[in-house]
C-alpha cells in the first residue's frame, strides 16, 4: 500500500502504518482493525458495528489473523472512519514490512488447557512492538497457551507456546496412577510400588500430569514459552523450528526485539525476504548464538533451519 496516493483532503498520516487495503471497486478500501489476541470489549465491538453500518454498507470480515476488517470503505471517508472509531480506542492495524498485530488463543484465564497468559503477552507485544518497521518484510508473532497449539504458532516468524516442566513431590502422592494414565507421551510410568517414575526426555511440557493429579503431588517447576522461529505460510510455507524453551513470560518482548535486530542486520540488502529464509541462508547456528548470548539458559543447544514442506507445493527451492 502506497503512501503517495493523490488525494483530496485526506490526512495521510492515517495511512502511514498501513491497514488500508485497496479493493477492486473504484475508490473502495478495506480497513483492517487492530484486535490483538482476537479479544474485543463489547463497547468497541458496538462502535465498530456502528461505523460498518454507516460507512461500510453493513458488513465486516473476520480475518484469519483475528482482526475485524471494515469492507467497502470509500477512501474519502478514511478520516471520518478513523475519527468515529475513536483514535486511541479502536485503532487501525498495519500491513507492509512491519511487526503485525500479534495473535493469541483464549489462553489460560478460562480455558482449562492453558498454561500461560497468552492474552497478556499479545497485548504487551502489541503495545510495545506493533508497527515496528523491519526494513524487509512482514513479521508475525503468535501465542498458544499450551502444546495443543490451536493458533499454529510455528507458522509465525516468532511463535510462542505455553510450557511447564513438572516435578513430583513424592510425599503427597496417593498412588492413584492417574498421571501415568494421562500422560500420552509415555513420560510417566508407575513402578511396582505404585510410585510414578518420570522420563523427562519424553515430556512435551503439556502440564496434564499437574492438572490431573488429585493431590497436587505433581507441581510446576518451570513455566514459560517454547519458542519456534522462522515460520511463515503463503506460497512457500516454512515451519518454524525450536530455538528456546521455558522463556519467562516477562522476557517475550526482549526476545522478539533481539530476533528483530538480527533479522534487520542479516537481511540487509536482500530486499523483501522473510526471517525464515534469512535463517536458511545464514544457518540456524548464527541466530542461536546471537540469542544465546542474550538469553542464556533458555536457548536450546542445537536446532535445524525452518523447514520447507515440499509436498505443500510439489517442489522445493
Amino acid at each position: 500500500m502506497s503512501d503517495e496516493k493523490k488525494s483530496t483532503a485526506i490526512d495521510l498520516k492515517n495511512l502511514k502504518a498501513g491497514g488500508f487495503i485497496k479493493e477492486r471497486g473504484k475508490d473502495l478500501f478495506t480497513v483492517r482493525l487492530r484486535v490483538p489476541g482476537g479479544r474485543l470489549p463489547v463497547g468497541r465491538l458496538k462502535k465498530i458495528a456502528e461505523v460498518a453500518e454507516k460507512y461500510g454498507q453493513g458488513m465486516v470480515h473476520l480475518s484469519v489473523r483475528q482482526s475485524v476488517e471494515l469492507i467497502n470503505i470509500n477512501f474519502k471517508d478514511f478520516d471520518a472512519v478513523v475519527a468515529e472509531l475513536g483514535e486511541g480506542t479502536q485503532k487501525v492495524a498495519s500491513c507492509g514490512a512491519r511487526v503485525r498485530v500479534p495473535t493469541a488463543c483464549g489462553g489460560c484465564e478460562y480455558n482449562p488447557n492453558g498454561l500461560v497468559d497468552t492474552q497478556k503477552s499479545a497485548l504487551e507485544v502489541d503495545e510495545k512492538l506493533f508497527g515496528t518497521p523491519t526494513g524487509h518484510h512482514k513479521f508475525k508473532v503468535g501465542f498458544a497457551g499450551c502444546p495443543f497449539d490451536c493458533p499454529k504458532s510455528a507458522t509465525n516468524d516468532v511463535g510462542f507456546q505455553g510450557a511447564i516442566w513438572p516435578v513430583l513431590e513424592q510425599d503427597d502422592c496417593i498412588g492413584c496412577g492417574l498421571c501415568a494414565k494421562s500422560c500420552t507421551e509415555g513420560a510417566i510410568a508407575m513402578d511396582d510400588a505404585k510410585r510414578p517414575v518420570f522420563t523427562g526426555d519424553n515430556c512435551l511440557y503439556c502440564g496434564d500430569c499437574v492438572k490431573v493429579c488429585p493431590t497436587e503431588a505433581w507441581k510446576t517447576e518451570k513455566k514459560g514459552y517454547t519458542v519456534r522461529i522462522g515460520g511463515k505460510w503463503g506460497r512457500r510455507p516454512l515451519v518454524g523450528t525450536l530455538f528456546a524453551e521455558f522463556l519467562p513470560e516477562d522476557r517475550v518482548v526482549d526476545f522478539i526485539t533481539a530476533v528483530l535486530d538480527w533479522y534487520k542486520e542479516k537481511a540487509e540488502g536482500e530486499g523483501r525476504i522473510r526471517l525464515g529464509d534469512v535463517i536458511r541462508a545464514e544457518g540456524a547456528a548464527a541466530l542461536l548464538g546471537h540469542l544465546r548470548e542474550r538469553f542464556p539458559g533458555f536457548v536450546v543447544d542445537a536446532t535445524i533451519p525452518p523447514q520447507a514442506i515440499a509436498t505443500q507445493i510439489g517442489k522445493e527451492r
Binding site: 496417593i174 492413584c176 496412577g177 492417574l178 494414565k181 494421562s182 492438572k211 490431573v212 488429585p214 493431590t215 497436587e216
Partner: protein
C-alpha cells in the same frame, strides 16, 4: 458413608451430579463417588478439589474408580 454411583454418567453431568450430592451432606462428611475410567476420572476429582473439597483417596477397582472425598466449607 454415602456412595454416589456416577458410572455411565458423562462429563460434565457427572460433576454437576457430584456437586448436587455434596449439597445434601454437612461440611466434614466423607462421601464416595464411583467414576468411570477416562475423562470422568481425569476431570471430576480435579474439579471437586478446585471447589474446596479434600481428596482422601482415589483407587482403581474393576475398571472404575472410587473417589473418597471430605466435604469442604461451602
Amino acid at each position: 458413608m454415602t456412595t454416589v454411583d456416577l458410572r455411565g454418567v458423562t462429563c460434565p453431568t457427572n460433576f454437576v451430579k457430584a456437586k448436587l450430592a455434596l449439597e445434601m451432606v454437612d461440611t466434614g462428611a466423607v462421601i464416595e463417588f464411583l467414576l468411570d475410567d477416562g475423562e470422568p476420572v481425569k476431570n471430576v476429582p480435579r474439579s471437586l478439589k478446585a471447589e474446596g473439597h479434600k481428596l482422601l483417596g482415589l483407587k482403581e477397582t474393576d475398571g472404575y474408580y472410587v473417589l473418597t472425598l471430605e466435604k469442604g466449607e461451602e
